[in-house]
């Protein structure tokens, strides 16, 4: 290794460590705060004298997190299943078929990525109310699916476009129908991208706060992040307990990512390598 390469490596590592620190410090801070004795004033820079792991049990029971988790699980799983299914169908059509108006239609989908939820929330609220869906999981699921499909179609189109066209053509000659080509050839080919999409959609849906706050009125239908808001309102001075609640809420997403990280990274790289 010559001097220039060595210096470059040092700079690269220094930058990576710096950004890792920026990303991980708040998470570390929240976790440390969550194990301070209940009612004490935590510090992110200092470990507590003893670890109060019991805070998690207290937060779970007192914050009704089992109820919020149930809501979140119902919403997130439904959103993942519906959004992934629709995104695969949309992405397959845009990525493998030539049809009139496909460009216009695709850019219409992309609009969903550009327009923020905050811009449409008021009209959305009235629409949902007119459908008698306020304070239902259905409302949350429908609105979140519509948002997730915008990104999902964009993502799956790119994944299917990276498949060699000859694969589709070989399958057509082999006698496969459009539907069979999707099931038997393209979905297995795009599986890493589909898994990545599922992880991203799950994380997005699980962390959704704003919609749950606006579209639900009872605690029964609140999702975990919105429930955490209610919980932190009750224990406004008890930082360790609030931090324990935050850790509980964040845990499922972290676990899903840890379980699927290899496939997630492969999925992200699929488009990057094949262009």
């Amino acid at each position: 290794m010559n001097a220039t390469t060595r210096r470059q490596a040092i700079i690269n590592y220094a930058l990576l460590v710096f950004f890792c620190f920026i990303a991980l410090f708040p998470i570390f801070g929240v976790f440390i705060a969550s194990v301070y004795p209940s009612g004490s004033q935590p510090s992110s820079f200092k470990l507590p004298s003893h670890f109060a792991f019991h805070n998690f049990v207290t937060a779970w029971t007192q914050g009704d997190f089992s109820m919020y988790f149930r809501s979140s699980a119902i919403v997130a799983v439904s959103v993942v299943v519906l959004a992934t299914g629709l995104s695969v169908l949309g992405g397959y059509a845009f990525g493998t078929m030539r049809f009139r108006g496909s460009k216009v239609l695709f850019y219409t989908f992309i609009l969903g990525l550009i327009i923020p939820t905050e811009a449409t929330i008021v009209s959305l609220y009235y629409d949902i109310r007119s459908l008698n869906l306020i304070d239902t999981w259905t409302a949350l699921i429908l609105v979140e699916v519509s948002g997730a499909v915008a990104f999902g179609v964009f993502w799956m189109r790119a994944a299917f476009l990276s498949a060699p066209r000859s694969l589709l053509e070989a399958a057509r000659i082999d006698g496969a129908s459009t539907w069979q080509i999707m099931w038997r050839i393209m979905i297995p080919f795009g599986w890493p991208a589909i898994l990545t999409l599922m992880v991203l959609t799950f994380a997005d849906s699980w962390n959704e706060f704003f919609l749950a706050l606006v579209l639900t009125t009872s605690n029964q239908h609140l999702t975990a992040p919105a429930g955490l808001q209610v919980f932190s309102g009750k224990y406004v001075t008890n930082t360790p307990l609030i931090a324990a609640g935050a850790v509980i809420v964040a845990l499922p997403v972290v676990m899903v990512f840890l379980l699927l990280q290899r496939q997630f990274i492969r999925g992200v790289l699929t488009g990057a390598v094949k262009g």
Binding site: S166, L167, R172, I173, D174, P188
Partner: protein
């Protein structure tokens, strides 16, 4: 088995014409090679037979049936792609069985045919491997196997050897030819490699800019090129061309260009100007008493020692060039002068206006 017939087939991609009024009969059981440079329309013609592109006008018949609007899966064809297009998530066995499964062939029959085809190709031990675990040559065989197992009426092959190294390519092309002899299916094979075309094809269709330039067996295409394009494209090294003036006198034709002057018996009727084409193997170092037309004096521009022979690039006065073939032990310096003679009857003549062949002198 079946014939394949193109009847005035035209294909446009938006404003670009990829194939123009293309007509050709491919006989039952024939190995037909489409050869031509990039953009000549050879792959388009193949894809039209496969049904992967729609015809703009004209008709394609497989057997007696017009297939213009028939879906690829109903054409009873199989295709080997340039990149092999093996399904990456499936084993070789599953790849081979896929087409039969889609056609609802009974399981026992699928297993029997896959085993039989694998044995023919010598790929039994590869059946449980996925494409990523195969070398280029093995992938090529697996792709051939996938096509063969279907026992289609027509085989279509789109430059299937172009991703193989030179040695494997030579080996595989003779194997494909051998397989064709065994199976006997009508085969349409696309390549840009004229050596591949000449060695494999029962007949060769030379294509240029979407038009069929000439069709015939390898010998006729080589010996009697229909035009300047075919003469230049077929043969390696290429035929050299020189435009010359013609003077006729007493049954003799004198071809001249600047200081270059060739006198030969006028066996064909010639206009005032012709394009003269000479293949390297017909141009040799001049020596007195040789049965050659010439001499033509020029300067040695380059010398290529190929082992079995030596090629000499000769610059003629006035800027024209010839390539001559010489014995491998010939010692000659670049920049020196050299006299070349041409075998009688081996000067190919073309009309400068139409570039069509006018025979040989």
């Amino acid at each position: 088995m079946a014939t394949v017939e193109f009847r005035k087939v035209t294909k446009h991609f938006d404003e670009v014409s990829a194939l123009s009024e293309f007509s050709l009969d491919i006989h039952d059981g024939e190995f037909m090679v489409f050869v031509g440079p990039s953009g000549s329309g050879k792959t388009t013609a193949l894809r039209l037979v496969a049904g992967l592109e729609a015809i703009t006008s004209g008709e394609i018949l497989i057997g007696e049936r017009e297939v213009n609007r028939v879906a690829p899966r109903d054409r009873d064809i199989a295709m080997v792609f340039q990149d092999y297009a093996l399904y990456p998530q499936m084993t070789v066995e599953q790849n081979m069985a896929f087409g039969l499964k889609m056609r609802k062939t009974p399981k026992a029959e699928i297993a029997r045919r896959v085993q039989e085809t694998a044995a023919t190709l010598g790929i039994e031990e590869l059946l449980q491997r996925k494409p990523r675990a195969l070398s280029g040559g093995q992938r090529q065989r697996a792709a051939l196997g996938r096509a063969m197992v279907r026992q289609p009426e027509v085989f279509l092959m789109d430059e299937p050897l172009s991703n193989l190294d030179a040695k494997l390519r030579v080996q595989t092309r003779s194997e494909i030819k051998q397989l064709h002899k065994q199976v006997g299916n009508t085969t349409v094979y696309v390549t840009h490699d004229q050596v591949e075309a000449m060695t494999m094809g029962d007949r060769v269709a030379v294509m240029s800019e979407g038009v069929l330039a000439q069709v015939g067996d390898a010998r006729s295409v080589y010996e009697e090129p229909a035009n300047v394009f075919v003469a230049g494209f077929i043969g390696s090294p290429s035929m050299a061309f020189v435009t010359m003036n013609v003077t006729r006198a007493d049954g003799t034709a004198i071809l001249s260009r600047g200081e270059v002057r060739l006198e030969t018996a006028a066996r064909v009727l010639l206009p005032d100007e012709v394009i003269v084409g000479v293949r390297p193997e017909h141009a040799r170092i001049w020596h007195e008493g040789a049965d050659l037309v010439g001499p033509v004096n020029g300067t040695v521009e380059y010398v290529e020692m190929l082992g079995r022979e030596t090629l000499i690039g000769v610059g003629l006065p006035g800027g024209a060039r010839l390539v001559a073939q010489a014995a491998p032990d010939l010692l000659i310096d670049v920049g020196g002068s050299v006299a070349i003679g041409i075998e009688p009857g081996r000067m190919y003549l073309f009309d400068p206006a139409t570039e069509r062949s006018m025979g040989r002198l």
